[in-house]
Each structure stands twice: as C-alpha cells, then as structure tokens.
Amino acid sequence: MRHFRTLLAHELRAAALAGGTWVSAALFLALMGAVHWFAVLDGAEAPQPATPLEATFQLFWIPLLCVLPLLTMRSFAEERRQGTLAALLTTPASPAAVVWAKFTAVWLTWLAFWVAFAGFPALVAQRLGTAGDFRLGDPVVLGGGLAFIAVSGLLHVALGVFCSCLTRSSALAALLTFVGLLAFTAAGGALEKLPIESWEWLGWLREPAAHLRTFSHMEDFTRGILDARPFVLYASGMLLCLGLAVLTVEGQE
C-alpha cells in the first residue's frame, strides 16, 4: 500500500478533470434538487409525517441507482479496455493499492456530491425567507443523513468498483452495479415490508434480516441514532467487495 497516496492523488485529479464526473454531478444535483423541491411543496400543502429533508433522504436510492454506477463504471473497466491497468501493474504498486485508491477516490467524489446537496436546504430557507427555521434544514437530520450516505457508501461504492473489475465495458460495469445496488437496496426494503416476524418458517431469517434493513438504517441515522450494526454491515461488505476486486485484478491475464 506504499503507493496509495500517489495513486489516490492521481485518481482524484483524474476525477476532477473528467467530463463524466461533472455530468454525473449535474445529474445528481438536478435529481436531488427536484426531489427536495417536491418534498418542500408537499410539506407546504399538507402536514407530512417527515420533514422535507427527511423525505428527501428517504429517496436516497434514486441517485444511488442512477448516478453512482456512472461514477464507478470507469474505474477499472476503462483502464482494462485501454490496457493501462496492465501497464500500471508493471510498477511496484500493488493491486491492493490500486483498488483502494480507486475506491477511495470514487467514495470521496460521491460524498462531495452529497455535501454539495447540503446547500439545498439552506438555499430553500433563504428563498422562502425562513432562515433559522430548523424544520426545513434540521442539522441533525442533515448530518445524520450525510453520515448514512458516507457509511452505506462504503459498501455501495465498493460494489461498483468490484463490478467494474469484472468487465472491459464501462456500460456493462454500470449495468452490473445498477443490478447489484438494486438487489441490495430492494432486499433491504422488502425485508422491512414483509411480516417476517409472523412467519414461523422464516424465523431463522429474522436476525439477519434486521441487519439488512437499509431504509431503517437511514431513518436511524437521520434521527441521530448511531448503531454499531450498520457500520459492521457496510464495512464488512466493503472489505468483501474490495478483497474480491483485488483478487480479480491480480488474476487478470
């Protein structure tokens, strides 16, 4: 991992200069801007169970599925297509350093997108002349939501990076990431809807299912509840995905 910092600096610089990153950022901010604006309008029309910011974070899966695959797809697939990954691996830099650097660069970019989104509640409050009214931009909800994005992003980004290792086609990598994230998020959502507790024959699933409830994790975070279990889930998932990515890169011939 001696070359991690050099590689990370290179990856961050490449991400900052890539047109794809800026297109993704524009798409992300447009999507989240629209989502947040509609949440504010709904809140203005009738009382809602969640504040506009909470309602916006509940729809985190939209940019997750639409934007994150665009960020992760090129990380390895493009380099494999051009042959530059093989050239990179002729240096003393280890495959693990390469994988971690690419992962960290995408994860930081993903966080930067969400941090930029944090400006929206302030913008709305300013436009509506309600500055100082925390119902529109509760710092606990905002901080918790961003913390959830950061923690869950460990696994989400790692999954995307792993998918990008599997193919030379960026489009296919994006598709694989989309399907993987959809399956993981939908599984979490479905487990919350299903009355597993009442099905005896599914009793064994109760405990593991409690850990996979992504939407519950997000709600806990936005309420300021920090549980260790989501950290373990997302961190161990990230380690698994990145470990597989390292093995895939090492095994590529």
Binding site: H10, Q82, G83, T84, A86, T90, P92, E253
Partner: protein, 328 residues
C-alpha cells in the same frame, strides 16, 4: 536505481518456463538468460510466444510452470521486488490519453520509487534523451503521433534507471527516421542495463543486439551471438563468382581448392556467368578461393562471399524440426 548490490549471474533468467491457455501451449520449457548490461534480441514468428514470455518475465501474467527471475529475484514469489529492478514496455504501449507527457512520467516516476527530490530531474532527463522535451512535454498523450507515443513508453521504461528493460516491439509502426532514433537510444543502454527486446525488424535487432534468442511455437530453437548461430545453423559459406569460364572449368578449379564444394550456375549476362560456390563453413579454402580461381586462369570479374544475415539465421532456426530441437 543505481545501487551497490552485487551483480547477479543473469539479469533476466527464464528457467523451463511454460505457459498453457487451456489446451494451447504458448510457451514450453523455455530456458534462456540475459547477462547484466547485455542487449538481447528476442525473436520468433507471429504467435511464437514472445509476448507471453515477456509478460511472464514482467510479472503481468503468471506462468504455468518454471521460474522467471529478474536480477536474481523470483518474479512469482517477490513481484514487487522484481518490478523494482525492471521496466517493461508492452506491445502496443498502452498509455492514458488524458494526461500530458510530463504529468504521466512524473506519476510513473513516483510509482517506481524514484526519490521525491529526483523526480523532476529524472523526468527532464528521460524526456531529453527520448527527444520529448521540446515538442511533446506539454501535449496530451492522446494527441501524440505513434512515434512520440513509443518514445513516451521508452522514456517511462528508463525513468527509474532499472537494471533490466523489457521492450516488446518498441519500433512497431515507426517510420525509418524514428526507428534509427530508437535504435540509437537502445544502443546507448549497452553496459548500463540489460535489455530484452522483441522485434520483427531483424536488421534492427542485428545492429543493436549482442545476442539473440529465437523461439518458435513456444520452444527455444536457437540462442547465442549472431556469429555463433551463423556457424551453427548455416553450415556453408556461399561465394558469388562472375566469370567468362565454363561450368566445367569453374568446377575443376573450385574442387581443387575444396573437394566438398558445390557449384551452381545462376545465369549469364553478355557472356559473363554468375556462379554460386558453396563451401563448408569451416573450410580453409574460404580464405584462398579467390587466389585459387585466379591461379587456375579463370577470367574473374567479381568474387564475393554472400553475407549471411540474421534473417537467414532466423529462417534456418525456425525451420528446425522437432527432432532437431530435442537433440542435446
């Protein structure tokens, strides 16, 4: 980087290397070495297994069996250490399109453990050596011509002053001027670093290399200095003679000098006939043939020993039958 570590016997050692892709054997039981400071040409027809061998030596591909070592370090067991002693320019020289030459070389220098305070100086030096400093340093790699891209690849290979440089087809796609430039550059490395170079341009290899290794269908068919291979693979010395004498007179005079000689008339122009006289390579008559023909009274206009180039050696070596190869 230059250090005081003792010289190993071989800078590059391939010992019984084998690589199989399913049922296809790309490299089989291949053994050869490159001495420190030596420039070795690695030759073979298309699909002979050159690139596979080079990739195994460079550590970008695992061999099925056998041992590859760079500067005495096993590529499979200590890949990072082996890579520290070596630079590899793969065939087609893949480069990132969106970086400037100087930026790319700076990144590569850092990844190759060039000390931080020497990075700028080393980048400047290799760009100067490879004639990139004036015209290409600040250009995007994606905008460079093929020749300049090859130069960037070679500059990258030389950045960390490695002990071993492996170049897979470095002159492919270059024009004659660029080939001469690259050839001079490679020649300047003699004695400084061991160079293993594959090329289809045999004339270039012959001018640059101390030794050649020839493989065919993944197996070693010949290795050694071109002069030694010439003796081993081409057992005759051919002379081209132009004279007005008849075949009978030429035959008589030649056999008197060397009884094992073979004589062949190639054609006649305005009364002058061209003959090919094939003598055993070790025959002492090679040095006295001209004198003997003149002494026999033949009206000679021309006599010259035909030059046996690397191309002839390559063809002779790659035509060897499997039975010949198995012979100890």
């Amino acid at each position: 980087m230059a250090d005081a570590s003792p010289l190993p016997e071989a800078a590059v050692a391939a010992e019984r290397l084998t690589k199989r892709y399913g049922s296809l054997t790309a490299v089989e039981d291949l053994t050869f070495s490159v001495a420190p400071g030596e420039i070795v040409g690695f030759l073979g027809p298309n699909g002979a297994g050159k690139s596979s061998t080079m990739r195994i030596l460079a550590g970008t591909m695992a061999g099925t069996s056998g041992r590859a070592a760079i500067w005495g370090v096993s590529v499979a067991l200590e890949p990072a250490e082996a890579k520290r002693h070596m630079a590899y320019m793969p065939e087609n020289n893949p480069l990132p399109e969106d970086l400037k030459v100087e930026e790319y070389l700076t990144l590569r220098a850092r990844l190759k453990d060039v000390p931080a305070d020497r990075v700028a100086a080393r980048v400047a030096k290799v760009m100067e050596d490879c004639d990139l400093a004036r015209r290409a340093a600040r250009q995007l790699i994606g905008q460079l011509s093929k020749g300049f891209r090859q130069r960037v690849g070679i500059a990258d290979a030389l950045l960390a002053e490695p002990k071993v440089v492996i170049l897979d087809e470095p002159t492919i796609g270059l024009d004659p001027h660029q080939i001469v430039g690259i050839r001079d550059l490679i020649r300047s490395l003699r004695g400084k670093m061991a160079v293993l170079i594959s090329s289809h341009i045999l004339h270039e290899v012959e001018q640059v290399c101390d030794k050649v290794v020839i493989i065919n269908r993944g197996r070693l068919v010949a290795q050694g200095r071109p002069a030694d291979l010439r003796r081993e693979l081409i057992p005759t010395a051919n002379f081209s003679v132009v004279t007005r004498a008849t075949l009978a007179d030429v035959t008589r005079a030649t056999l008197a000098a060397e009884p094992a000689a073979l004589i062949e008339a190639l054609g006649e122009t305005e009364g002058w006939t061209r003959y090919r006289l094939a003598l055993p390579a070790a025959s002492p008559a090679r040095e006295t043939l001209a004198t003997a023909l003149i002494a026999a009274g033949l009206p000679l206009r021309e006599i010259a020993e035909e030059r046996i180039g690397l191309e002839d050696i390559f063809i002779a070596a790659t035509r060897r039958s499997p039975a010949e190869l198995r012979r100890p």
